[in-house]
């Protein structure tokens, strides 16, 4: 992992990885499971006198999407877990989030077709969640 150097500290980027598995029970019923991790050096108390605290963050999640009858709407239910360890700061945070919602899709005829030909990609949301919680953990 490459670093960016300044006159006072060495700054390193955080490496992250995410793995997602999707299973289609049928064309309009998708199950998804995911796991992700982020590691960064000197993320908290970065002044040289403080030494800097490394942060490790792990995310995991489950999600189900299903078309509601013959309507244009899909219902979804998702669970997201997040674990943040500030290592030498000796603080940890665990988050469990349960959500349900509705979505509507356009372009693709089915969830399966969207997966193979349409808007199938997404973002590693745990980075933003870790970013949001890191300040209270300092």
């Amino acid at each position: 992992m490459g670093g960016v150097h300044s006159s006072s500290e060495e700054y390193e980027a955080a490496g992250f990885a995410r793995l997602v598995g999707r299973y289609f029970v049928d064309e309009e019923f998708r199950l998804q499971a995911e796991a992700s991790a982020l590691f960064t050096d000197d993320a908290i108390d970065t002044q040289p006198s403080n030494g800097g605290d490394d942060v490790e963050s792990f995310g995991w999640g489950l999600r189900a999407d299903k078309r509601l009858g013959n309507s244009k709407f899909y219902g979804f239910a998702k669970y997201d877990g997040l674990y943040i360890d500030t290592t030498t700061e000796q603080k940890t945070l665990v988050e469990h989030a349960l959500k349900v919602g509705l979505s509507t899709h356009f372009g693709a005829a089915t969830l399966f077709q969207q997966d193979r030909s349409g808007a199938t990609l997404d973002q590693p949301e745990m980075i933003a969640r870790t970013t949001g919680w890191i300040e209270p953990l300092d």
């Binding site: 700054y11 049928d26 993320a43 800097g52 979804f76 603080k91 940890t92 919602g101 509705l102 372009g107």
Partner: protein, 200 residues
């Protein structure tokens, strides 16, 4: 009616028998998978996307091993609201781009700890460019920007990330992997950039 006491072997046999009956009845198979139709349609990339809204509940626990009396967040449960949207645009036969927008807002209700009631709001915007064969898989690059606010929304943090991603398609399943680098305000690089940009 006499109550049967099942041993482990008997129970296993019952479960297997019921699973076989359910499979025969089609409970797990669901509506027919129109694979041929999908294979035809998946050969061509589609312009489209989705928007969604959701709500739920989040449970939060913070442990401070060094000094348990100084937890700022403590144990909390709070309302969570979510917005998500994505749009995919084909650029060529096997090349497409996608834009993502995700927003979440949590309204915390303090149940423990010594800190104030809290809110966390996160917003994510991202983009992808990828080459895809609808029969086999996808490879691409992606990037995103995430913004988070906490402590009555007074503290803000921003992260950016870039990475590579790939998908492998199976008959009824998709395996999706992403890896990359993130720079955030919690990482000194961005803090240093902001300090340099701020007037003395």
């Amino acid at each position: 009616m006499a109550v049967e006491i099942l041993e482990f072997g008997d129970l296993t046999m019952y479960v297997l028998r019921w699973m076989r009956l359910l499979l025969v009845a089609g409970v797990f198979s669901g509506p027919a998978f129109a694979t041929d139709h999908l294979q035809d349609s998946s050969a061509e990339l589609i312009r489209g996307g989705f928007v969604g809204v959701g709500a739920g509940w989040t449970f939060l626990n913070e442990d401070n091993d060094q000094n348990p009396n100084t937890d700022e967040t403590g144990d909390r449960s709070y309302l969570a609201l979510r917005f998500e949207g994505a749009f995919s645009q084909p650029l060529a036969t096997n090349l497409s781009t996608q834009l993502d927008v995700i927003g979440e807002y949590f309204d915390a209700d303090q149940e423990g700890g010594n800190g104030p009631d809290n809110q966390l709001a996160t917003a994510i915007a991202g983009a992808h460019i990828s080459a895809r064969d609808g029969q086999t898989g996808l490879v691409g690059l992606f990037g995103g920007l995430g913004h988070g606010r906490t402590n009555d929304l007074d503290q803000e943090n921003t992260a950016i990330w870039v990475g590579v991603e790939a998908q492998k398609y199976f008959e009824h399943a998709t395996l999706y992997a992403q890896a990359g680098l993130a720079w955030g305000e919690f990482i000194p690089l961005v803090k240093n950039m902001k300090q340099q940009a701020s007037p003395a």
